[in-house]
Symmetry: C2
Subunit: 289 residues, 2 copies
């Protein structure tokens, strides 16, 4: 089988056999960079060699199933587990292989405001059968915190942390005191510590500026400090207790682990290739491979 994690800004394909990833390809052809009639050709170009080698099934997840994607697949309501996801695959016409898309999930937060995800439900799917009461965090532009009970996703909370970071980093006065560079872990940690102090996020943002003005925050550390500030505010708002399963890139997971530990919870980083493992789990439950 071929598993495809097709998101907003990236395209990741995996050739899998017997639950193992045999080969992988990654391209920058996220749905934002693909015209509406270019989805099938893009897919064929990337996974064509695997089709020629005999693969006949392609299971996809992510924003490819959104209104801006190949085909809009309706959100499933929470609670939903691997069984519900596997029962709701949507077929897409494609010559030479059977193609299906995994639906996203929708919910409402504690105050009735809508919540949605597409792709993250799949990244977490391989973990679900092992979890009873649990929390998972999937960091990113729109970080997701997922509540799990009895192997099913019961609710989610999104934070616009990554995207807010980019907008503040590039399009405010803070940009003037920030140099490009590697992540500075100690500066990130200081930002997390600051997030626990009084005054609120909008006040703490101005402190990035004043500390730079008064020589207390070097240009090479300011972006990492800002990142720690935002991630810290995300984590403290969730007030996590006990284990938090982290799913994402190793670099981002390690920063979130730092913030989650600071606030007294226990980060557990999930295995890599979460999307591929989740697609395998869903395909097996759908009796599709």
């Amino acid at each position: 089988m071929i598993a495809v994690d097709w998101g907003t800004s990236s395209f990741r394909a995996f050739r899998v056999r017997d639950g193992q990833v045999l080969a992988r390809r990654e391209t920058p052809h996220g749905i934002l960079h693909v015209g509406s009639d270019e989805f099938a050709p893009t897919l064929r170009r990337v996974v064509g060699p695997w089709l020629e080698a005999g693969e006949t099934q392609i299971l996809m997840a992510g924003m490819v199933g959104s209104r801006q994607g190949w085909l809009e697949v309706p959100y499933l309501p929470c609670p939903a587990g691997v069984g519900e996801l596997a029962a709701a695959l949507t077929a897409v016409p494609f010559e030479g292989a059977a193609v299906r898309i995994v639906p996203g999930l929708r919910s409402v937060d504690a105050n009735g405001v809508p919540e949605v995800m597409r792709g993250e439900e799949t990244q977490i799917a391989a973990l679900l059968p092992t979890l009873d009461l649990a929390i998972a965090c999937l960091p990113g532009s729109h970080s997701k915190w997922v509540e799990i009970a009895e192997e099913r996703i019961t609710g989610l909370t999104t934070h616009m942390t990554g995207e807010a970071f980019a907008a503040l980093r590039q399009h405010t006065i803070l940009a003037r005191t920030m140099a490009e560079g590697e992540t500075h872990t100690d500066a990130f940690r200081r930002g997390v510590v600051r997030s626990a102090e009084q005054g609120g996020l909008l006040h703490h943002l101005f402190g990035v500026r004043t500390q730079a003005l008064f020589g207390e925050l070097p240009e090479t550390e300011a972006a990492s400090y800002l990142s720690g500030l935002l991630v810290g505010h995300e984590v403290v708002a969730m007030a996590p207790v006990g284990k938090v399963h982290l799913i994402g890139t190793p670099a981002l997971c390690s920063l979130y682990a730092l913030a989650i530990s600071y606030y007294g919870a226990e980060p557990v980083v999930a295995p890599a290739d979460a999307a591929a493992l989740g697609l395998i789990e869903i395909a097996e439950r759908a009796k599709w491979t």
Copy 2:
């Protein structure tokens, strides 16, 4: 006397006599739009007719006294009142009139992070002699909350609310669901109410997106809702009690008054022309007019 409020993006000049504003001029020549050797010519162009009519003294406040301004005037430490400001005026060479700049103020917040202001100390100066224990709020790109005791400014807290609004409004996915238009007061109020709910600001930001996606927030109201959300988070972080003196444009003061009332404090909108009145107060104390 001529009073000048010369900020980052605007230039406001007032001709005053006997504590009254006789005439005013406003131009977009904020310091960001004026070359380093253009300050004197810009001033002369705008207030030249008043000099020809016999004025000989010009008192200025705002970012004109910053490193990016005409001449850098060191910050005074808090606590400081009209007396301290009047005693620390800095002269600028200018042919045909005596020109002075009012210093800005500096402080540290409850956790030792530096705080600064330039211009707001002057906008509040006319009120100071009437206040004992009080709080003032000066809304804007960088909103200032000022603590006052015994007629002096004892501390301040800045929130990057206006600038964060602009960056989020224009440079994130939220821009896609927002139309230009007038402020929608009821949507602003709903944003303020949302700020009191659980989840934190970064989560509430994503709710702007999902409510738009699910048809719960019209495009013409989304920007006002976002503004209410941010202003609400600013006000709740300050937890104001009792009277809050509001100094700023009537439109912004009226929105902040709504948020301050929602959180149980009592907004009191200060008279217009606060900068001119403050410059008059400082000039009188300096025995300069």
